[in-house]
Amino acid sequence: MTSTEFARQSKDFLARLDAAMQNVPHGIATEIRGGIAEELEGLDAAATAARIAQLGDPAVIAREAQAATHDSDAPALVVAESKRSRTDTKGFSIVAALTLSFGGIIVPAIGWVVGVVLVSASSLWRTWEKVVAIVVPFVAVATVIIFGIGAWFPAAPEANATDAGGAFATPAANNPLVPTAYDFVWTGIFGLGVLLIPASGLWLLWRLRRR
């Protein structure tokens, strides 16, 4: 059996598990799936088959998870039920991701901050996912602005050198066809608000699938 077939086998198992866990509380189902997925990924073919055999029937896993969740005899369950937070729900996380994506467009800056707070409060994403979604757009724009300005402006004196007067009489900064630092900064901010931040929120939505 090839590694591709084992990858498919692993994917099939997770798909059957997802189907079986439809009635398991969402947060618990996410934890179980995540725990199994992290164990199956990166294994070689033989180890994958062994793990899947060891896991057994997904329907049994789901049934036991459901029983353990609803078992009123377990004393700690009272704590779990009463403390289950609204932030554990998929609906909350979807609202959080959409607010992060588009909140800043509707209410500049403040909408995005609200999105960050909501995303941070959700328990359905891992910490690294939240950090990537919040920080990466800014790092990307800062990088583009810094390197853009750095790469462009050393060339400006050369452009001036070819000037008809042979001197720097007409600075490139005054040429409307030559972008200025101001242009880089505003293009970066526009790209951040309209493209990168919405994309980061949509990426979080994509990460929510099957959770």
Binding site: E38, A62, A65, A68, A76
Partner: protein, 110 residues
């Protein structure tokens, strides 16, 4: 009936067994599931995660991610101070409790 007694006993102690395992070292879900399944305390990984969820909600355990070279980051569980205190409380009660029960029910003669 015997099976029910066993199930009730497992249900009563499995949470503390998880705390005991995590007192030794932080562990990820699969590791815990293997240890508990081997000891016949849970039937499958499906029983473990609701239990871990309860322990996390009650702040007896907390989680952290460890990057993995072969796959996604692994979520590890470790004991908190509250979990350590709860385990200590259980340990203090378990030994006298087990001694009392053994004294009352006696041991099976071979």
């Amino acid at each position: 009936m015997t099976a029910d007694v066993g199930a009730q006993m497992r249900k009563g102690v499995v949470e503390y067994c998880v705390l005991g395992l995590l007192a030794r070292e932080p562990m990820y879900g699969w590791q815990l599931a293997e240890a508990l399944t081997r000891a016949d305390l849970i039937a499958s990984i499906g029983t473990l995660y609701p239990l871990l969820g309860r322990l996390r909600e009650s702040e007896a355990v907390t989680t952290f991610d460890v990057p993995s070279e072969s796959g996604p980051a692994r979520k590890y569980y470790r004991l908190t101070d509250a979990g350590t205190a709860r385990l200590a409380q259980f340990r203090a009660q378990w030994t006298p409790f087990a001694r009392v029960v053994t004294g009352l029910v006696g041991e099976e003669r071979s």
